[in-house]
């Protein structure tokens, strides 16, 4: 009995050989120790029934535990050797993988989608409208006076007497209010046209993104909450926001929203003209005349609206110096911003 336990101890020493064993040695060890016919441990286990009950219990427990240890160790070493076998000798794994052409969405599309997605979380749906509009939709319903300078042919592209390429996406506000009863909460992306020749910061065509909320009880507080929430989601959670007076025919009170300059984070730099602020959007409470022009009761309903330029936002956020790059479609430019594709 004592011999038996001693030989088990001796056998346990041999566990150490396993992690170093190569494929052949491992098979030899397996046969020598666990072999069904002449394995050392197998023999010990076979001899157990001949022992006295007390000794059988003690030796049997120890022998079976050792057997499990050998099995586990051999198993682990076998897996290790199999994994190593997958290494192909002489292959340089730093060589490039098989490539595929990449494609991507235009940066302006991505910015528009990103902004619309943020406003979707704030309860806004997404609508669009025609690019050729009448003066009524583009100007008069929006409370532009008949003699407003924007109506001059110097500023807008005209297609007919009172048909022009929309100068902003605001006509879609009118179309929406004419079609749906409040509550209205919409964002309106789209292309707009101004009679400005191309230069680094102007284009005759550019993207605009407008928003409109009209319902009972909407106030200046809701307006500020909504647009501040947008700015903090779009830029960063601790972005400073400020609202200051402005003027648009279709909002009253009107406001300009500035966010902390994203280049200098507010300390002042050439990009923000040392003010520490970046102008992001024009906005305000919907002018009651606009609601009245759409047949909406301006005593009962109030609302807010805003408009911003995704090109300009993209330019300031990504450091793009010239708006023409967006239209030239050089694939090297498009490729730089393809990484954001979902």
């Amino acid at each position: 009995m004592r011999d038996l336990l001693a030989s088990l101890d001796g056998l346990r020493e041999r566990l150490r050989e396993i992690p170093q064993a190569d494929e052949r040695r491992l098979q030899e060890l397996k046969t020598e120790i666990l072999g069904r016919k002449a394995g050392v441990l197998t023999d010990i286990l076979k001899a157990l029934p001949g022992l006295a009950p007390e000794a059988r219990k003690a030796a049997g427990g120890a022998a079976n535990a050792l057997k499990r240890e050998f099995e586990t160790a051999i198993d682990a070493r076998e897996r290790e050797l199999a994994h190593a076998a997958r290494r192909i000798p002489g292959v340089d794994l730093t060589m490039p993988g098989r490539p595929q052409w990449r494609g991507g969405l235009h940066l302006v599309t991505q910015v528009v989608d990103e902004i619309c997605e943020i406003f979707r979380e704030l309860g806004f749906t997404r609508v669009v409208g025609p690019e050729a509009e009448t003066e009524r939709y583009n100007f008069f319903a929006l409370n532009f006076p008949r003699d407003h300078p924007a109506l001059d042919a110097q500023d807008s592209f005209y297609l007919g007497d009172d048909v022009l390429l929309r100068t902003h996406t605001s006509p879609v506000q009118i179309r929406t209010l004419e079609t749906y009863r409040p509550p209205v909460r919409v964002v309106i992306p789209g292309q707009v046209y101004r009679r400005d020749p191309f230069d680094p910061s102007h284009s005759p065509v550019f993207e605009q993104l407008e928003g409109l909320a009209v319902d009972e009880g909407l106030s200046f507080v809701d307006f500020k909450a909504t647009l501040s929430a947008f700015a903090r989601k779009f830029f960063s959670a601790d972005t400073q926001v400020r609202f200051r007076p402005s003027f648009f025919p279709f909002t009253e009170p009107s406001a300009e929203m500035d966010v902390q300059c994203q280049i200098c984070m507010g300390s002042g730099c050439p990009t923000c003209k040392q003010t520490g602020w970046m102008e992001i959007l024009g906005s305000g409470m919907v002018h009651p005349a606009v609601l009245e022009n759409c047949g909406v009761d301006s005593e009962r309903y109030t609302g807010f609206a805003w408009g911003m330029g995704p090109h300009r936002i993209a330019m300031s956020r990504h450091g793009i110096p010239d708006i023409r790059l967006f239209f030239e479609s050089d694939v090297r430019f498009l490729e730089q911003f393809a990484g954001l594709v979902r």
Binding site: P99, E131, Y137, V186, P245, V331, R332
Partner: protein
């Protein structure tokens, strides 16, 4: 619009911090684009008293001055070339080491053999004007050695204001000061005019008439629509000359060049009170009469800038008894202008109709400080005060006298406007309740006159605020004067939008994403270009001939973008665009005549290698060909117009997609382009995007039985298409044929001339049982019989 800090301080009677003021104005009424310090570079200049003036030993025109500049070392010697230097007077002195405007750094140097310790300076040398005839004599009690900037009020800041179009009142110092006064709890008071006396102006009242005579000058207001209120004063016996320093420095502080005392005085009033004035020489006025009328067709006047202008009856002209002397509200003529010889002056103070002035300015392409203000609307009610102050100022700086009360023609007098405000409406719109008392205080602080009226406030609008016409305008005043920042931005409950998403936006997003995944970059090209089809819509006022039409298709624009890429040596180009195209409307569109039809289109262009090269493949990657085009065209058609069928184009070049009504909704082909020799072939497709609801996919059970596969090589006579063979094969083989795919084409030896061999892979399956080989052989044989009978297509002998 530029305002001077020092000028504002004079109106407010208190000192202002430049940065704080800029911040306040930005947050309360008008953004300050820049704060520009003035004359800060004179930091090193001191006040010095000349103790003694001696002739220079070696030069007749120079003198040697003993100067007390406050230094501990006592008087110093300075060489001076100015004829006006006098002992006992004080002058600006730039010591050695000081840097003057323009960058001149003073050094101790010998002038004609005598060392000069610095320099006594002229106004021009200090950047304070053009005067260089002598050194600048200072009228100051400051002790020698004091900083020049502390002793003389020239250090200033310019605020560059971005004034909104609805706030003409902010186009002058008084208006800006009014806003600051409201914030500071101060009052605006016009500073006394040095040497002025308000009593020189006889009192006058408006007359509801269109003509009158003042001091021998006949005034006729024949165009009261263009000039609703028109005032004339006559000042006789004045002397045109240089402005006093205080007046000149006010003007230079806002970037205006002093001209003469009369012109400077009118400019001063413009910048102080926003009232443009026009002064002209009575001696050159025929009649003497002032006639305000519409210009006659082709009537000409040579404006001050020396250009001959042709007027139209849409413009108002100010004329003498014979001909126009002023384009009303825009610019006067050289002929009637005040000159050195002028002694008697006609002073015009008018209100011109804003739209009229704007149109005139645009038509003549001529703008001025006056037109800028008139077209935004000046203070109709404040004109008499402005005229009084202008007369007082002119008499103070140029002498002369007013013998008769000015004439104030106002055929249809207007009363101040009253707007009613419900205090509860303020809380309703702003979301924060503002006490009635605070509302009254805020409005009063900028000149509104507030009185209770029933439950409301009756608010009288001052003349300088033409923008305030309804209740909501007053609510804006409350909001901005209280400060937009004082309103919380807390979330309050809201109802979800009743407006559904535009379905087309979902479709377009899906299309964009799929094309991007297929390796295409999205382009956004401009929709303006040359005509690209007979239905092109023309822009009436294009920027250039090359951008005169709206696109009817996206492809031409994309081809231009490919050419641009080629010019940048980009050979592999895959672009797509989703955008609006325009076609001439039928005339009864929703928007009436002239409105084009709009349609969303999807187009793509592809050229270059089929895939990027990889080092494991020795051979050059092949360029994309028509089969790559077909693949992407099919993708585009599947995305953009569900249910459209593909067919070979009628002209045999490329393919067409045909809609349910038989109309062609898409095309794909190789494209013509201006390609460099190294470019690969260019292909393109364009599909009209139609909104079709995609059918809901229903689950089909996954078969558990094995397929039986066969490859069949067939010989197709000339003119027989693969599509025709596939169609008959399917029909003949029946429903057990699960898949049928072309996998090879062969032309050449071993098959009859003029034919080609095409090989199909077929896969049969019965979901309910395992098919027998023999059964499949029978189906294939049946199909081959049909092909032979109908198309003369036979199995290829191997």
């Amino acid at each position: 619009m530029i305002v001077s800090r020092r000028w504002l301080e004079a109106l407010l009677g208190c000192a202002l911090d430049a940065r704080e003021t800029a911040e306040r104005l930005t947050m309360q009424c008008a953004a300050v684009d820049a704060v520009l310090p003035l004359h800060q570079e004179l930091d090193g200049v001191l006040v010095a008293r000349v103790l003694e003036v001696r002739p220079h030993p070696n030069a007749d025109r120079l003198s040697l001055c003993l100067v007390d500049a406050g230094g501990a070392e006592g008087p110093i010697e300075v060489v001076c070339g100015a004829p006006n230097v006098q002992a006992g007077k004080t002058y600006p002195y730039a010591p050695v080491g000081a840097v003057l405007p323009g960058g001149l750094k003073l050094e101790r140097k010998k002038i004609r053999g005598v060392v000069s310790n610095g320099m006594l300076c002229s106004a021009r040398e200090l950047g304070l004007g053009l005067d260089h005839e002598g050194i600048l004599e200072l009228d100051t009690t400051a002790a020698p050695g004091a900083r020049f900037l502390d002793a003389v009020p020239v250090a200033d800041h310019q605020f560059v204001l971005d004034v909104n179009a609805n706030r003409p009142d902010l186009l002058c110092h008084k208006g800006v000061a009014r806003e600051l006064a409201a914030a500071l709890g101060a009052a605006v008071k016009l500073p006394a005019i040095p040497g002025g006396n308000p009593a020189v102006v006889p009192s006058f009242r408006p007359v509801a008439a269109a003509q009158g005579v003042v001091d021998g000058v006949e005034v006729r207001l024949e165009d009261p629509e263009g000039a609703p209120r028109y005032m004339i004063a006559v000042i006789r016996g004045m002397t045109v000359g240089k402005s006093p320093a205080w007046l000149a420095s006010r003007l230079t502080a806002v970037g205006q060049r002093p001209i003469n005392n009369v012109v400077d005085a009118t400019n001063y009033i413009l910048h102080e009170l926003n009232q443009p004035l026009h002064a002209f020489d009575l001696a050159r006025l025929r009649g003497p009469a002032v006639v305000v009328r519409r210009a006659r067709p082709m009537e000409r006047v040579v404006t001050l800038d020396g250009v001959e202008r042709t007027m139209t009856p849409d413009m108002t002209a100010i004329c003498d008894a014979e001909r126009p002397t002023i384009v009303a509200g825009v610019m006067g003529s050289a002929e009637s202008e005040v000159s050195e010889a002028t002694t008697d002056l006609v002073l015009e103070c008018a209100y011109f109709q804003p739209t009229r002035i704007r149109r005139t300015r645009r038509a003549l392409e001529l703008s001025s400080d006056s037109s800028y203000r008139f077209e935004r609307g000046i203070d109709l009610l404040g004109m008499p005060d402005a005229l009084r102050r202008a007369i007082e100022l002119i008499v103070a700086v140029a002498g002369g006298a007013v013998r008769e009360p000015p004439l104030d023609l106002w055929p249809q007098p207007e009363q101040p406007r009253t707007v009613f405000l419900r205090p509860e409406r303020v809380a309703h719109l702003l979301g924060v309740s503002v006490a009635r008392g605070e509302i009254e205080r805020l409005l009063s602080s900028v000149g509104f006159v507030v009185a209770p009226k029933d439950e409301r406030l009756a608010v009288q609008v001052p003349g300088w605020r033409p923008d305030v016409t309804r209740e909501v305008d007053l609510i804006e005043e409350v909001a901005r004067l209280r400060g937009y920042d004082t309103f919380p931005d807390e979330w309050r409950p809201f109802r979800p939008s009743a407006v559904p998403d535009a379905p087309v936006e979902h479709l377009l997003a899906r299309i964009r994403e799929q094309l991007a995944r297929a390796g295409f970059y999205e382009a956004r090209t401009i929709p303006l270009g040359p005509a690209d089809g007979p239905e092109s819509v023309e822009v009436l006022n294009p920027l250039s001939a090359e951008e005169r039409y709206l696109r009817t298709r996206l492809l031409p624009g994309l081809v231009r973008r490919v050419e641009h890429n080629w010019s940048n040596r980009n050979r592999d180009v895959r672009l797509f665009e989703v955008g609006t195209v325009f076609r001439r409307g039928k005339g009864q569109g929703a928007m009436g005549t002239g409105a084009p039809e709009e349609q969303v289109s999807l187009a793509g262009v592809l050229t270059g290698a089929r895939r990027p090269p990889h080092w494991t493949e020795a051979a050059k990657v092949p360029d994309m060909d028509i089969w790559d085009l077909k693949q992407h065209f099919e993708l585009a058609v599947g995305l953009a117009c569900q249910g459209a069928a593909m067919q070979v184009a009628a002209d045999g070049v490329g393919w067409e997609a045909v809609g349910a009504g038989g109309e062609i909704v898409g095309r794909a082909s190789a494209l013509e382009s201006d390609a460099p020799v190294w470019a690969a072939p260019l292909f393109g497709f364009e599909v009209r995007v139609g909104l079709g609801a995609p059918a809901l996919q229903q689950y089909r059970p996954l078969p558990a039985t094995p397929p039986v596969e066969r490859d069949v090589a067939l010989v197709l006579p000339a003119g027989v298409t693969a599509a025709a063979v596939s169609e008959r094969f399917r029909r003949a083989a029946g429903p057990l044929l699960e898949r049928l795919e072309v996998f090879d084409e062969y032309r050449g030896d071993n098959i009859p001339a003029g034919t080609r061999s095409v090989a199909w892979h077929c896969s049969f399956r019965d979901p309910a049982r395992t098919l027998e080989q023999a059964e499949v052989d029978r189906l294939v044989a049946a199909a081959l019989r049909v092909l032979e009978d109908e198309l003369d297509v036979r199995r290829r002998e191997s």
